[in-house]
Amino acid sequence: MKSVACLVCGCLLMGALSEDEQLALLEKADAYYHEVMSSRTQPERARVDTGIQLYEEVLREVELAWQIRLEVLSNLGALHVRTPPEAPGDYSHWDRACACYERVVDEAPKVNERVLYAHSHLGYMYGKTGHPARAESHYMRLRGLGEQLTEEEREALGPALAQQRNAALTGLAMLYEEHAREAAAGTGGFGVHMGDPDVAAELARRAKPRVDRQLNQTTEATFLALPSEDESVASPGAPLPRPGGGTSPTAIGPDAKPGADTRPMPEPAKQAAGKTVVRAIGLLGLAFALLASSVWSVWRKGRERE
């Protein structure tokens, strides 16, 4: 006979749980999970801990359908993720979450949505906690599922399979970007899939806007630095070189007169507004000083009379 103490109300249940007790325990654990996950602010640590303990008890004491077991393990992982960290920069709760998702992957007799999401979460969390090789492995396993599954299994998974495989591709590309040096060095076997055609294409796709931007910037800079064709070759209407160097003020248009644009440039509006404010403050200060001195003289005269 084993004794099981209910973690919530503290009652001691003697012997193995009956089916009704098992169902009640699972419902209670699910209720804590939904409460924690629906909280918009950081959940109370005690509530998260209770949810975790209840799910751990469910895994020990309740006979579960494999699909529900995977769901419980996934929920447990999610609760660990939502646990408030011990200190800033502490990721030990993520390690515990990863352990749960690893169990989802290991214990699944068949691939279902929970397995897809577990690979995805593991890829992301391992990538962020300094285990890029593990992250890469999970993303690649997710990518490989497309070929391994039968047509029927693919149908059962529905659009989730395609979505998660695409997400894995994006995840891999981000991983290689974040850990570019290790990937290039092949540290710890990481970066071995950079040559995968899909991954390479995704990396190129992601890099394109950046490269384009850099190219544009470079072209612009070069364009500004180099004299224009008009400047480099004397052409009719081009400003003539001045004896002292430089060019004469530009005259543009049929009615333009030489020197027309030599007037001072208008001040920027913000600068002008700033000056106005300073002037107003000065005038106010002066008025206040005058007022204060007159009040002071009236008061002094009054005292002298007394």
Partner: protein
Amino acid sequence: MRMNDSAWRRGLSAVAFLAVSVGAWPVPPVKAPEDVRALERSGSPSAQTCLTAAVGQALRAFDAPVSFETHPLDGRSTEEALEESPFSVTHCVKKNETLKHCLDDLVELSRGLLEVQTILGNTCIVPKKRSPDEILTNLDVPISLHVEKASTWEALKALAIAINGVKATDYGLYITLSDLDAAKSPPAAFTEEKVITLSLDNVPARYALCAIMNASPLELSYTYAPGTTLDTIVMAVHKDGKRVFGTRTFTSEEAEWWGREKNEVGWQRNSRGGDAEKDE
């Protein structure tokens, strides 16, 4: 088994011509009710519903072929009686609940109207009889059935004809496949795979029906509501326990064939089926 051969040939060729989308698959061993669990919660713990609806809703929560017959009283009681237990009940299925637990609950709620029987490995919820010889519905009547290399539909049609020959009630019996009347196509194996050979003498019709289900290449269950306007057995096809539905609609040729088949069953030769008699 009497049937119009030319009609059969036309019908089968029509079905074969427009090959149906769901094929045959190996029937997996039936799981014991203790091993089948509900993956989702179903029903509300506070809403009252009639017993028949409660059973139907509960069974939908499980991926298992469970057959279900309502009690004749369920369809014939007065309205006042239907508002009270056991005809009006509150029941829900909890996530991870075993099928056995759920069936036990339903039997308890029925207060002696229903019981669970395992007939040739098929789990069936049936009306509880007061004595073994009592004939409550058409599925209690003793019949003989001899079919050789018949398709599932041919065997079921033979069963319906046999029951209608010695029917227990004023109503004829009509066997159909779930969704057929909504013009959805049956799996090809339902009409094309001729693998059923049975020789049964003087057995309850329910036993013969379960024997056909066992011999069929398809995973089947049935629902039977005796005492309603049409005494209909609705067959459902399952795959890995999960109920499957046809995905393609009948063509007019197929619908015509199916209509002829239904008439041959003889379900219209009852007090309400005057049209068939006029045709004859």
